[in-house]
């Protein structure tokens, strides 16, 4: 009995040593080369195209020769918080969250996508397709209006700004407002008649018109806003210059290789440029006008 107990302890010690060695070396190796890049995805794009996102992630991993992790959140606030606390390295933000985050000094502009050849997008005012009377935002007085997200540019900032320009108080203008946490949901809410109107990201609406025409057909675009800088990709402020450049180069060169071009086509984009923070000045202006943040 005693001998067998002793033997067992002897083997157990050996197993422990082996496990310890394996564990520590593995961890050290992972620390050095395999620390994944964390990339935030927000409803600034049609973020439930999971197959497309998986392929794009694969592409980025291959090009960067590093693992890339996509961190998808349904609202901007959470992504902003993650960036603020350095839990993300990069994130695709809407214009307004970018301006907000940049103003608070925890991100810098990495790249701006090119949509229809230009780094701009608009806000579309949509109503149900069955509503043939409404022509302007003002006609929606006393109606139910769907906002996208408290940090959304086109889905929240723009309509309130437009009302203010018209001398209306957005707080009491509508009978009822609610957040849908995404532009696609606004389209759905308007299509189903839950909301009588909403303003959406033109890029999301046009992309949906391509991939889910049955949904967009139930809505009608009655007004288009001026252009704003396209939702950019931002880098966390602490990301090293090397990583920043590597990611920027991969994005800028996407349009130049076949696989990248295919992915861009599926993303309904034409490419990326390094961009200019000035592109978002109009957003900054609206933000200041509303004195929101």
């Amino acid at each position: 009995m005693k001998t067998s107990n002793f033997k067992f302890l002897f083997y157990l010690r050996h197993i422990c040593i082996v496990l310890f060695v394996l564990f520590t070396t593995n961890a050290a190796w992972a620390e050095q080369s395999e620390k994944p890049i964390r990339f935030g995805i927000t409803p600034a794009i049609v973020h439930d195209q999971y197959a497309l996102l998986a392929d794009w992630r694969e592409y980025l991993q291959k090009k960067l020769e590093r693992p890339v992790e996509f961190v998808t959140r349904d609202n901007y606030r959470e992504t902003i918080e993650l960036l603020k606390h350095n839990k993300l390295d990069f994130a695709w933000l809407s214009a307004y969250p970018f301006v907000y985050s940049e103003k608070n000094h925890f991100v810098r502009l990495l790249a701006t996508p090119l949509y229809q050849g230009r780094p701009y997008y608009r806000a579309y005012l949509i109503v149900p397709a069955s509503d043939l009377q409404t022509k302007t935002l003002l006609q929606l007085k006393g109606k139910v209006f769907a906002y996208a997200d408290p940090y959304s540019n086109t889905g929240y900032l723009v309509p309130r700004y437009q009302l203010r320009q018209e001398g209306e108080d957005s707080k009491h203008f509508f009978r009822k407002t609610f957040f849908t946490w995404g532009h696609q949901n606004i389209v759905m809410a308007v299509a189903r008649g839950l909301a009588d109107g909403g303003e959406v990201d033109s890029f999301v609406w046009e992309t949906l018109a391509l991939i889910r025409p049955n949904l967009t057909r139930q809505t009608r675009v009655i007004a288009k806003s001026p252009e704003y800088g396209f939702p950019p990709i931002a880098a966390q402020i602490t990301v090293s210059q090397a990583e920043f450049s590597a990611m920027q180069r991969v994005l800028l060169e996407m349009a130049n290789d076949t696989e990248g071009a295919k992915l861009l086509k599926r993303l309904n984009l034409d490419g990326f440029i390094s961009g200019d923070p000035k592109l978002y000045n109009s957003v900054r202006k609206m933000m200041q006008a509303l004195d929101d943040i």
Binding site: A146, K176, F178, R192
Partner: protein, 485 residues
């Protein structure tokens, strides 16, 4: 013709079929009603499950005024991928109202827009609103409004004392009808299948059951005239009431036949007795003058001087008168002769007498004599009976035929059985067999059996003639021993 006058042949199968069909309909109807109730109960249980899960998710959404989240929650319940599942009752719409009965969110915003009072939607919803405001502390309630073609399930959205609103699940009336029809159809096809098996079985069984009864009835209706043929014994072999009826019928028929035969026998013996009396009377009346005439002839022969020619005439008269006397004497059977008792030796004597006659026709006689010691019966008369019967048998038997003789004592009776093969007699012939001057007698004067019958009767016994199945005639004589003579 009324149903109750119908033949059992139709009535029993019809009754059976009617019972089967009525039973099948009753069982099916009760099952269908049960199924309807169960499905309705299922719907309420399903609604309750759905309502519980929805309200638990809706509570935080309503608490945070998250209209979109609430919309997603209720939409999922309507647009679920299980909506095509046949067993699932599909809700038509789901509404959430606040405590003021204004719509917070609905799956059909176009029909029920946000922030409208549900009473304004339609009179039906106004009635529903009344029900909801009267609901009080009820946890959940299934509501069917009169005149409505919908079914409502309402559940409060609350936790503890916090009451945020009410969930309304709307089902189209008869939401479970497809499933109900499915089950009912299944039940009906099983029922029809069972009927398809039971009805022919019932028909066959009913016919089979009534067939013996029908035969019995048709036979019994014929008993008034001639006797109907016996029923085949394997027609109905069971020992139930019908079997007993068959047996009773059989017994009745037997008894009727026996009675008839007894009546015939009595008629026959009465006739023979009357004949015997008549014969005896005539014999006495004839014998008296005959005796005188014979005595006169005798006297004339002895003392009269008659010429040979007259003598010849007298002799002729004498022979004639003697023949008359013999014949009358034969008719007048007198059993009151004093005689010694019968001995086994007497039987052997009879055998000795009859054997040469039998040999002439090469007839084989099987002889059984089981007498030992003397029998208290007059030997002369018994010998006469035996000789008569045996002569008759030998005469009736075919060439190289067979005669069977048996004599024994049984139950205080002397019993003689004589059988012979040859032509059998019809019942009609048998009934006249013992009459004098029988036309059946081919030689002799046809008095042998008459005499036998008279002797046996005077000895207190009786004679029976039977036709055996295999072309044999059997004569049985029974004489009580020590009977009053």
């Amino acid at each position: 013709m009324k149903f109750f006058d119908l033949s059992f042949r139709y009535k029993i199968p019809l009754w059976g079929s009617m019972l089967i069909i009525v039973t099948a309909i009753a069982v099916s109807a009760s099952m269908i009603v049960d199924t309807y109730d169960e499905l309705k109960e299922d719907l309420i249980i399903d609604s309750d499950t759905l309502a519980r899960s929805l309200t638990s998710n809706l509570f935080p959404a309503l608490l945070h005024d998250d209209t979109w989240r609430a919309f997603e929650i209720i939409s999922t319940a309507i647009d679920s991928p299980y909506s095509d599942w046949p067993g699932q009752a599909q809700a038509e719409a789901i509404l959430v109202v606040d405590n003021a009965l204004n719509i917070v969110v609905s799956t059909h915003p176009k029909m029920a827009p946000i922030s409208t009072d549900i009473s304004e939607l339609s009179p039906e919803y106004a009635a529903l609103a009344d029900q909801i405001s009267q609901m009080g502390e009820h946890p959940s309630q299934a509501i069917e409004l009169p005149g409505s073609n919908r079914f409502y399930y309402i559940t409060p959205i609350s936790r503890g004392n916090a009451h945020l609103g009410t969930l309304i699940i709307v089902y189209p009336q008869g939401v479970f009808m497809p499933r109900f029809f499915d089950i009912a159809w299944h039940g009906l096809s099983v029922g029809s299948f069972i009927l398809a098996i039971l009805l022919p079985l019932n028909w066959y069984w009913g016919r089979r059951m009534t067939l013996p009864l029908l035969l019995l009835a048709s036979r019994m209706s014929k008993t008034s005239g001639k006797w109907p043929a016996d029923l085949e014994p394997d027609l109905y072999t069971h020992r139930d009431e019908l079997g007993q009826l068959f047996e009773a019928y059989h017994l009745m028929l037997e008894e009727l036949k026996a009675k008839e035969s007894l009546e015939k026998q009595m008629e026959q013996s009465e006739r023979l007795a009357a004949l015997g009396q008549l014969a005896a009377g005539i014999a006495h009346e004839v014998n008296n003058p005959l005796g005188g005439m014979l005595t006169a002839i005798d006297t004339l022969k002895r003392h009269g001087n008659v010429d040979p020619r007259t003598m010849k005439t007298i002799a002729l008269l004498e022979r004639g008168l003697t023949q008359i006397r013999d014949t009358v004497g034969a008719l007048l059977v007198e059993a009151k002769l004093k005689s010694r008792n019968l001995l086994p030796q007497d039987i052997e004597d009879v055998q000795t007498l009859i054997t040469p006659l039998a040999n002439k026709k090469a007839i084989y006689i099987t002889w059984h004599n089981s007498l030992d010691g003397d029998i208290p019966l007059p030997a002369t008369l018994v010998r006469q009976i035996l000789i008569n019967l045996l002569l008759n048998a030998v005469q009736a038997a075919t060439q190289q035929g067979e005669v069977l003789f048996d004599i024994h004592v049984m139950d205080g009776n002397l019993r003689v059985v004589v059988e012979n093969n040859g032509k059998t007699l019809s019942p009609e012939q048998i009934s006249h067999l013992f009459e004098p001057f029988s036309p059946l007698s081919r030689d002799g004067h046809g008095l042998g059996l008459w005499v036998t019958y008279q002797i046996v009767h005077q000895l207190g016994g009786h004679v029976e003639v039977e036709k055996e199945s295999n072309d044999y005639m059997r004569f049985t004589v029974e004489i009580p021993m020590g009977g009053a003579l």
